[in-house]
Symmetry: C2
Subunit: 424 residues, 2 copies
Amino acid sequence: MNKLALKGNIVYAKDRDKLEIHEDSYMFVEDGKLVAISKTLDKSYKDYDLIDHSGKLIIPGFVDLHLHAPQYPNRGLGLDKELIPWLDTYTFPEESKYGDMEYSKKVFIRLINELWRLGTTRAVVFASVHKESAELLLDMFMESGLGAYVGKVNMDRNTAPEITEDTRKSIEETEEILKKYRDKSSLVKPIITPRFAPTCTEELMGALGDLALEYDAAVQSHLNENKDEVIWVEELFPESKNYASVYDQYNLFGQTKTVMAHCIYNTDEEIELMAKNGVYAAHCPYSNYNLSSGIMPVRKFLDKGVAVGLASDISGGNSLSMMSIIGGTVQASKMKWLDTDKELKPLSFSEAFYLATKGGGSFFGKVGSFEEGYEFDALVIDDGDLADIKDLTIEERIQKVIYIGDDRNIVERYVRGEKIEKPF
Amino acid sequence: MNKLALKGNIVYAKDRDKLEIHEDSYMFVEDGKLVAISKTLDKSYKDYDLIDHSGKLIIPGFVDLHLHAPQYPNRGLGLDKELIPWLDTYTFPEESKYGDMEYSKKVFIRLINELWRLGTTRAVVFASVHKESAELLLDMFMESGLGAYVGKVNMDRNTAPEITEDTRKSIEETEEILKKYRDKSSLVKPIITPRFAPTCTEELMGALGDLALEYDAAVQSHLNENKDEVIWVEELFPESKNYASVYDQYNLFGQTKTVMAHCIYNTDEEIELMAKNGVYAAHCPYSNYNLSSGIMPVRKFLDKGVAVGLASDISGGNSLSMMSIIGGTVQASKMKWLDTDKELKPLSFSEAFYLATKGGGSFFGKVGSFEEGYEFDALVIDDGDLADIKDLTIEERIQKVIYIGDDRNIVERYVRGEKIEKPF
C-alpha cells in the first residue's frame, strides 16, 4: 500500500466562498486518496513516507474542462476571426492532418508535456475525427499518468470535405473506441464528442445518444458560443425549442455525464435545463475574447445551480495555463458586472480557484479538493521568488502566484497519489 | 564609434496597419542609431561587429507607458476592489513605506530586473511622494541601462495622512529633482507627476504646471479611469468643463510632453483636446479589468489622431509583461467591439504591436521602430520551442511568440545599441 505524508501550507477550496488553509500541516494519502489533514505527525502515521515541503504551498491539481488537442499547433495564430470563419480558415485545415500518425504523435507529445508542465492534472479533450489518432491520444494520456477524457470528434456535415465523416462509419468507429477503452484505465476514458449541432446530422446525434446510454459514456460538445452560430442552429433545427434542446432530444444533454463548452448566449430556460439535467458548463474566457464571442455570465449559472469548470479551449484560447485562466475568469466576470449594470456580481478569487479545481474536478469524481476520500491530485508550489519582499498571508501568497506566477513556480505534480514526471 | 551589424528576421511596425518584415537580413547600427537594413552584407560594412542571430526574430524593445514602482510588492494582491477603495486599502499603505531607503532599494532591484527580463526597454514610471526614494529610482534606472521617465508623486490632499504632502514642500522638492536630474542622463529623465486631480490642490497643480513650462519637463497623470472618480472630480472642480480641462487649465495637458493613463470615460471633447494638445494616452487593459474600471475605446482615440501606447499599470495591473499586454489589448478591443454594437472595430495584431513599440516609444523620441535614424532598442527572440511543429511565416511566428511565449523566449536586449545585461 502506497502511504504518503506531505508537509507544507495546504490550500484548497471545499466551497466557492472561501479557501481552506492549513498552514504548516500534514496531508496523509493512502492508495491515492486523501485520508486526513493534521497539524502534527503522530505515531499512527509512522509508516507513511514523509515528503517535506515545509514553507511551500500545496494545492489541488488544475482541471481543464475543454480543449482541442489537434489545434495545439495553431495556438496563438489566426485570432483575427470570429467562430465560423475561424473554423473554416484555420481550424478545419489543421484538423485534417491527423490521419498522419507521425504528425499526431509529434503534436500530442508537446501538448501532454505542456499540460504537465502547467500543472493541469486532468483534462477533457477533443481529438479530431480520426479514430487512430484519437486512440493514440488515449494511449499517450495513459502513459503520461495524467487523467483525461478523450473524444474522437463526430461530424458528418457542414465542414471541410476531407474531415466530413460517413455517418455510419462515424458511429461504428465511436462504438469501437468505447468498447476498446471503456475499461482500459480508470484515469483515462473515452467520451462521446459530437463537434456541435451544426456539423452533425440528426441521424448521427441520435445514434451517439444511444451509444452514450448503452455504454454509460460521458458526452462533450459546444453550446451557444457565438450569436451567428445560435442563429444557424435555429435555421438547421427549426422544430427545436432552443440550442440546448437539440442535444437534449438526442440524449446528449445530461442523460449521461455531460459537459458543454462556452454557454455564453444561453437563455434562462437553457440554463435551468442544464441545472436540472446536471450538465456541466466549461467557461473558456480567453477563447471567448479571442474569437470575439462574448463573456459567459458565470454568476447566473452558479446562482441557478449549474456545475461550472474552467477551460483553455486551445486554440480558440491562446493560453493553456489554468493559473492564467483563473485570473482571466475573475477579470472577465468584472467586465460582465459592468455590462449588466452591476447586476451579476464579479467572481471572487476563491470562486475562480474553486472552478479550476473542485468545480471542474467533480466531472472526474472526487477530484480537485483535499477533503477526506478525494483522489490526491496536487501541485507543490515554490513561490519564493514572489513572496520575499513583504510578509504575506498564505491566502495572499496563493493569490500572488496565481495572478503573477507561472509554471516555473510548480515544482511537483501528483495524480492519485503518484508523483508524475515529465511524460515524454 | 560603436558599429554593429545584427543578422536575423527583422520585424517592426512603422505604421499601425502592417508589420514590416525583413527576412534573414542585416541591421546596421552606428552610435546607437539604426542606419540601414539590408539583405546583404557588402564590404562597406566590413568594420561593423557582426552579431549573427540567423533564424531568430529581432523586434523593437517594448515600451511601458505607465507603471507604479512602489506598488510592485502588491502585484497580484487585493484585486477585489474598485479604484478608490483599492487606493485606500492596499495602495496608499504600501506607498507610505518608501521613506525607507533600504526597502525602496530592495523593491526597485526586483522591479528593474523584471522589466529587463520581460524586454521592457523604456518605461514611464510613478515613484512615491518620497523625494529620496524617487532619486534612488532615477539613479538605479541610470545604472541599469534601461530608458525611463521617473516621477516623484505630488499629492497634498484626499489621501492617507502619512503620504499627504505639504504643498510648498512638494513643489520645492519637485523643482530640486528637476534641477538635479534634467541634464544628468539622456536616457533617464524626471517627469512631473501630480497623482491625479482629486489628490492635488489647485495651488499644487498651478505650481507644477509652471515648473513644467519653466524646465520643459514632461508630465504624467491619470484621467477618467473610473466612473466614481469622474463624479468626484466634477464635485471637486465644479467650474471645470470636464476632467481633462482641470489639467489643461494648469498647463499639465500637453503644454509640455504629457501622458495620461487609462482614458476610459473620456468625452469626445476630451479626446479631441488630447489630439489637439498632443497628449498621449496610456492604455492599461489588465488594470482596467482588475479594478473593474471598464475598457478604453482605443479605436476612437486612434481614429481621432490621439497618440496611444500600452502600459502595465502595476499593481492595478497584475502583469508586467508587454507581450501579455499586447494580447490583452487585442482581446479587450474585441469586447469593446461587441459592447459598441460592432461600431469600434477590434485592434489587429499589428496595431497592438505598434502601440507597444513605436506608439509608446515616440514619447521618448525616435524609439520603438527600426526606421533609419531610430535609436536601436531591440529584443532578440528565440522562438524555437514554439515554431517547430509546422512551417510558419515570420508574421505567424511573431504572433505566436507574443500570444503564447514569455520572457524565456527573449535572449538579448539592446538599448541605444548597447547590449543590456541583467542590471542587479
